[in-house]
Amino acid sequence: MMSDDNSIIRVNNLSRHFTVADGKSGFIGSIQNLFSRRYTTKKAVDDISFSIAKGDFVGYVGENGAGKSTTIKMLTGILVPTSGKIVVAGNVPHINRAQNARNIGVVFGQRTQLWWDLPVLESFDLLRSIFRVPEDDFKRNFEELSETLELGPLLKVPVRKLSLGQRMRCDLTAALLHNPRILFLDEPTIGLDIIAKDYVRKFLKMVNKERETTIILTTHDMDDIEALCSRIIILDQGKIAYDGSTEKLKIDYVREKAIEIELHEDDTGTISIPNVKLVKSTANKKWLRFNQDDISVQEVVSQIMRERRVKDIAIHEPKVGDIIKNIYANGKAASQQTKLQKTLP
């Protein structure tokens, strides 16, 4: 077991099983279901362990049903683990639910913790009472948040009249008013337009940096992960398929590179390098693809520079999203690869 003194969340051999009714379909089946049902056990979270250091910004990703939300629910104390151990900032969440609640902030993209019929301001006032935020802290926090998130014109508006983006800004504020040590975000950018997304991302980056809040983010938006998370945990069918830095993920999983070259107008030659595939070619533009195991980027580039008159060159980084898609696609192979890498020094 890692004994990381700096860790704020520790999860050991955590499992959560659900019993699911195996309903028969159709009219007769429905009636049979009324009287007898068979149940099967589904392992939503299957023996996972990880620890998260103070101040980390962790992306927690996986397909629908991979066990992300189940984990978050256990970390926030609203779900009891079937087995395993969780400690969040010194508390076992489902045992000290209220105590744990004071240490964490939660934003669920599809829900709001604001009071629907009340002006935003009143929700904040309630949260101040609920979390017993000291006067000075509250004042400082509120002023800072409402300035950064430009809440001024929204404060008197009832929550139900806010747009999704506006509501998200208010929900983020609501989650941070008591200055939690850990912030859980479950799809905070879902349904937002590009500008609002960008806004939320910048804000989260700032919170992580300036308040040193530990952030755990689950999302389906890989751009969120790429823009924000230094570390990524990928869940696949209840098990951890990858756990490591986002950078390392690229290095580990993608050996393939793409290079885009624009040649001078008067250079109409072609490029032919062993092990490099010419994907597409026009008069002045060439698209190349190769595997770094066969040939290094440096070799490819220097050879082109020697042979041709290059006007512009662009090397494309693999997108985290594509990598993760690959991992889902060959889940088993990927997880074996991870295990292999973990055993290596």
């Binding site: 609203i78 209220a98 913790q113």
Partner: protein, 280 residues
Amino acid sequence: MSSENTHTDTFPFGPAKPVYLNFIEKSFQKQIAYKFEYFVGVLNGLLFIFVFTSLWNAIYAGADTLEGSPFTRSQMISYAVFAMLFRISMTMEDNEIGRKIRTGAISMDFIKPVSYPLMLFSEAIGQTLFHWFTRVIPLSIISLLAFDAVMPQAPSAYVLTAIAWVLGYSILYIINFGFSLLAFWFTEVFSFQLMKFGLFTLFSGGIVPIDFFPDFAKPLIALIPFQYILYVPTSIFIGHIQGAEAIRLLLIQAVWVFTLGFICWRVWKAAQKKLIIQGG
């Protein structure tokens, strides 16, 4: 920052309030959100009072007494008016938990460091205060002028009624809360709600005083808590029940509050466990 930025250091909050007091206040405020609904509600109340007083007037057919009825006509009218007003004063949302469980919104409540039942109760109190001030008081004044309902003379009637009302209200609240907890097990609790509504309508004394039920039914009705919600406070208020009998009924009400409260508290403990074991 631009200069026209009128500094956000205008801090728009008052002093911090104790949490449950704050819930009461915010719940009161919430009710004002739908003004139209409010006016329709007042109109509805007036309509119901009109219907029931007209009905009793017709039944008494101009006479002051009625064969087999322990009430004089004027008492009967007062009963109809005040039973309806008490009923309005006790209006509360009775299936918020069910709704929140179905939508999963309950998880947002469970991540807050407060007692959930106390939070809901505070919200109910806020609603009730709102109904008292904005519905019951104006409707009382209209009713006293328009339908010859009579207010009691003795100050003791007001004191006893106030106690009976608080206890009756508590019984109704606890029953509602208990029934809505069933949602933790059954998710869809409409049929339970319907059953509760039926029992309440028939046996609370909101429409027909318990006196009019056949003799064999009365002891059975006395065994269930519903008559203590509206029949007892209303009867005490109009002077139909007085003195030692009133005190005796207040005590029974109190026993119901504690018994139901205890059961509910146990069910709540189980429900809470159920939720965090099953998942929100």
